[in-house]
Amino acid sequence: MKQAKFRNMTLGDKIFTLIIYTMLSLILVVILYPLIYIVSASFSDPQAVISGEVLLFPVRPTLKGYIAVLQNKKILTGFTNSLFYLVVGTIINLVMTMLCAYPLSRREFTARGWISKFFVFTMYFSGGMVPAYILVNRLHMINTRWVMLIPMAMSTYNMIICRTYIVNTIPDELYEASQIDGCTPFKYMMRVVVPLSKPILAVLTLYYGVGRWNDYYTAMMYLNDDRLMPITMVMREILIMGKVDMTKVQDATAAAKLQGMSELLKYSTIVVACVPVMLLYPLIQKHLVKGVMVGSVKG
């Protein structure tokens, strides 16, 4: 629509426009300030952090916090574990989602009606925490890497997004043409559906990847071995339960210095833990709206 230029608006519309811009600017500040503050604090001098000198920009910039992160074995192990769960877990998610979404998108598959219902029902109803725990226990998955990968191998919601996308964007004629050329459904999936579904696979990579990286619930339920813990559990220990492994900074003399370092370590850990997600985010942000839209179409 051709929107009137600001100076041609009526007084009421001018005031209204100003109010909207002011409100949105305020929202920007409220969202950005904590994020900027955390990053600034992580680069600041420990004393400046605990005495409240850091307001917006780093004060007496140092890398001490990050050096402490690098020296902290637990954080490093957590980070590598999380990377492993992220990469392997997301690949499992994508493969399973495609294996499920593709047959359900084909009209030729005669059983697709009731198989769809079989999957959709799991979205509305679940056995709950305790039966799931007993099952994982019976499968001898407790305290193994498998438990971080297998029980969440697919999200039905994401599978439906994927199926809707395939149904709506890949023309049926392609399937018929490929059949006449002697292509089997499996080959068709590998050669046509997967390459043509790249945009939705990008969105699902973001959804699944963020879920994997941010998951602490599974680890809390099923893991208790330090060597298997993801970064989120290490952070929970450091940030929320307030336990910082101080053995590496024993030489620091003053207690205040210790406290400053521990605060700094917390800020640096937060930043380090957010890096992978924040690297992914700009790449896939433009696909986000598409993903939400596909998901909201009833299929």
Binding site: M1, L28, I31, A111, I115, M129, I134, Q179, I270, Q285
Partner: protein, 310 residues
Amino acid sequence: MAKKTKHASAAGGGRIKNYNWQFWLIIALPMIYAFIFAYIPMGGIIIAFKDYSIRKGILGSDWVGFKYFIQFLTSKSSVLVIKNTLALGIYTMIVSFPIPILLAIGINEVRNKFFKKTVQMVTYAPYFISIVVLVGMMMQMMDLRTGIINVLLQKIGMDPVNFFGDVKLFRSLYVWSGIWQTAGYSSIIYVAALSGVSQELQEAAVVDGATRLQRIMHVDIPSILPTVIIMLIFSCSNVVSIGMDKIYLMQNTINAPVSEVISTFVYKVGIVNANFGFSTAAGLFQSVVSFLMLVIVNTICRKISDTSLW
């Protein structure tokens, strides 16, 4: 239905080979997965009606009927838990349902492309931050002595606030930090719906001399009403189903009287204290109530507005 019959006749033609078995092979793995990890735990619900003992197994344990449900609905501590869940759920819904709509309307009114893109990019971002980081950030920034928020409060001459040590503040902390994290992301669906509002209607409203506010009230909002109703149905059913992820991290001994909700209660009673039957009953109560809410709200919406989930 028309599609199905058409297809049946095409398959009957026999020119195209029937590959059903290949589809079965492809979907076999996801089906086995769903059967093991979704349907077997559903069968495990019978624990709620049994005096479960590990030695006897699920099937061998003795039936106790509705004992655990009665216990859950009558004991003083669990009634408090139900009340907390409802209070927090209703608070969350009242705040987190309208705000994304307002945000989307605001974003839709912005004509400056760069500003619009910036607002969208920034408001969506917190959604991708881990819940552990979010709660950790809150604890760091709201610390009584070193937290930046209290530093700023003191700078403008106010008393510092002990955010995590005050029972009364717990619910607001929980709800508003959720708004900070998810309002932008939740607004995406409304932004998309608003971009589909009929241009002719908008222009007709301009010709009729409608102000921007009037256009929002009489053109935009009625146009996105179906989306709004669908989201309302979902958020109503979420009133009782507060997940434990975030609230468990925010819990401490001071806020326990208001922060214990069904999900954290199930975790503590069931997993930590291994009282399987009782906690399964509590969890089942929660999912049944939430499912019923979904059905009831959906029926009401269908009666009065023709928009519903099914």
